[in-house]
């Protein structure tokens, strides 16, 4: 009786764990949308940006964003992608660098509010002469072309389903779950960390009609990865392919069956 109860309880827990989770497509953060509009230029904003920069960034990146940084492994902001790079890094919480160990790869909570981020973006953008934030809209994008481009340029590192993967050393290509269209556009422009500049696209040039369209297409596909209908088979089990699937087959599949065999065989 007790064993039956445990078995049923286990199945119930199982069912709960394996229930497919809802997607997050609907949640477009106001921050992201707001950041898409070119940050309004105002002297007050720029001054605030300079102040923040001196507080939070200068200790590594140097007193002048367009000048050299203090450490050889820290890139100067002159050639990391300008305003888009600042927006991307700060908005996704990667900068300021949290633990000083290894590459700043994992997303986190942004340390600054919306206005402050805009201030930093305006200040650094002006200082390095690259003040444009990408203009991206997945609704303008062609989903099918996006899938094709993604398969050519992005899938090798990020996986066709956006699950992410390990690279060499401490580097990883992040999972694209929860990634906003603006993140996609900015990352393609700046090539953060180990990611190639231009994202591996043929003929990428920021600002041209063709590149903007291609980025829209890719953003549309990345957005589609967040939505539930494409996990219609059930719980994605991490989306990492046969390794977790094999784990589930052994632990849950064979596990339950061995318990069942012991029960069936009776007092043995």
């Amino acid at each position: 009786m007790r064993r039956t109860a445990i078995l049923l309880g286990g199945i119930a827990v199982l069912a709960l764990l394996l229930t497919p989770t809802t997607g997050t497509a609907a949640s477009r953060r106001a921050t992201a949308l707001a950041a898409q509009q070119q940050p309004a230029d105002s002297p007050a904003l720029e001054a605030r940006g300079r102040e923040l920069y001196q507080q939070a960034c200068a200790s590594c990146h140097g007193p002048d964003p367009a000048g050299p940084s203090y450490y050889p492994r820290v890139p100067s902001l002159k050639d990391t992608g300008g305003a888009a790079a600042v927006d991307w890094a700060v908005r996704t919480g990667r900068m300021p660098w949290k633990d000083n160990k290894g590459p700043a790869i994992e997303r986190g909570e942004p340390r600054f509010g919306e206005q402050d981020i805009r201030a930093l973006v305006v200040y650094v953008g002006k200082a390095v002469g690259d003040a444009q934030i990408p203009d991206v809209d997945p609704a303008r994008g062609n989903l099918q072309r996006g899938r094709q481009l993604y398969g050519q340029a992005c899938a090798a590192c990020h996986g066709m389903n956006g699950a992410g993967a390990a690279l060499g050393g401490q580097n990883i290509a992040v999972s694209l779950q929860g990634v906003e269209p603006i993140d996609v556009a900015e990352a393609i422009k700046i090539g953060p960390g180990q990611m190639p500049v231009g994202g591996g696209l043929a003929d990428y040039e920021f600002g041209t009609a063709q590149s903007t369209q291609e980025v829209d297409d890719i953003a549309a596909y990345v957005e589609s990865l967040q939505t539930r209908p494409y996990n219609r088979g059930g719980a994605p089990i991490g989306g990492k392919g046969p390794v977790p699937e094999g784990f589930v087959a052994w632990v849950i599949g064979l596990g339950i069956l061995v318990v069942a065999a012991r029960w069936i065989a009776g007092r043995g």
Binding site: T4, A15, T19, P20, Q152, A156, C157, A165, L167, G168, G169, N171, A173, G191, G193, Q194, M195, P196, V197, G198, G200, L201, A202, D203, Y204, E205, R232, G233, G234, A260, W263, I264, G266, R267
Partner: protein, 323 residues
Amino acid sequence: MTDSDQGSERVDVDRRSEQGPAGAPGGPGDRGGRPDQAMTGGQRRAERRAAVALAVAILAGIGLFIVYFAGGQTQIEGVLFAIAFGGLGIALGVWANHLLDAREVVEERHELTSGAAGRQAFEMALTEEVGPVLGRRSVLVGLLAGAGGALGLALLLPVLSLGPAPGNSLKVTPWRRGLRVVDEEGQPVSLDQVPQDGFLTVFPEGHEGTADAQALLIHVRPGSLRLPPERMAGVPEGTHVAYSKICTHAGCPVSLYEQETSRILCPCHQSQFDVSDGAKPFFGPAARPLPQLPLGVDEQRVLIAEGDFTEPVGPAFWDRGRQ
């Protein structure tokens, strides 16, 4: 598999079924179970459990009909099937363990061997009527064996029709001197197209998408390549280098380019190649570097190939080093 094979048999009766007539095991007219026998409390409880399990199974079965004709839904159907089958399984398991009158029985094992006599009889049966030719080394038997062998081999000939001879095909690709470099959609790639720290998958013009021709074009930082001069001749402006995209280990497309460390990683077995050092593998199971594709530039600053890859692309095979 008749009774006589089984030898003697002992039947064990345990305490639980002592209330009925003792013994009288499995004779020809015996139909076993005693349907009018009173059930113990435990058996009544077991019967209830089985009944509940079966009832749940029936409900799940009905549910399946409803779900299917309503349009179907994979998760619900899976759960309902599991409940239906599981309910039946539980019921039968409970039945087996509590509601049967099964006794533990001892069955004697019989000898597996036919014994020397049996084997001799077999040999007799084999050799009794074979006549003067078989069983003796004679010309006829020899010829029979020869014919059988020749025919057997000939029957294998259609196997050779399964595929072409490998020939030279593993050692050459469609790349030729003068062919333009194009992307996978056939658009020619110009020298100024790929941004610094960017990369692109390229093919020879006219052969877009051909598997063995796939190459990675990488725009590296000036001065970062450490190749000998004859190899640098195939790198326009010292920054645009192309390597085969086919991993020399087991053939996967080596696509993961790390721009800051100038390394290419293969996702299949984690071989890593150093772009600055002629794509030599420095970690992982790959033993040979990615072959380089020498590039040049035509009058319109479109990249062209200066020849085929410097060695056979992809994984090693037996005669890779032979002409």
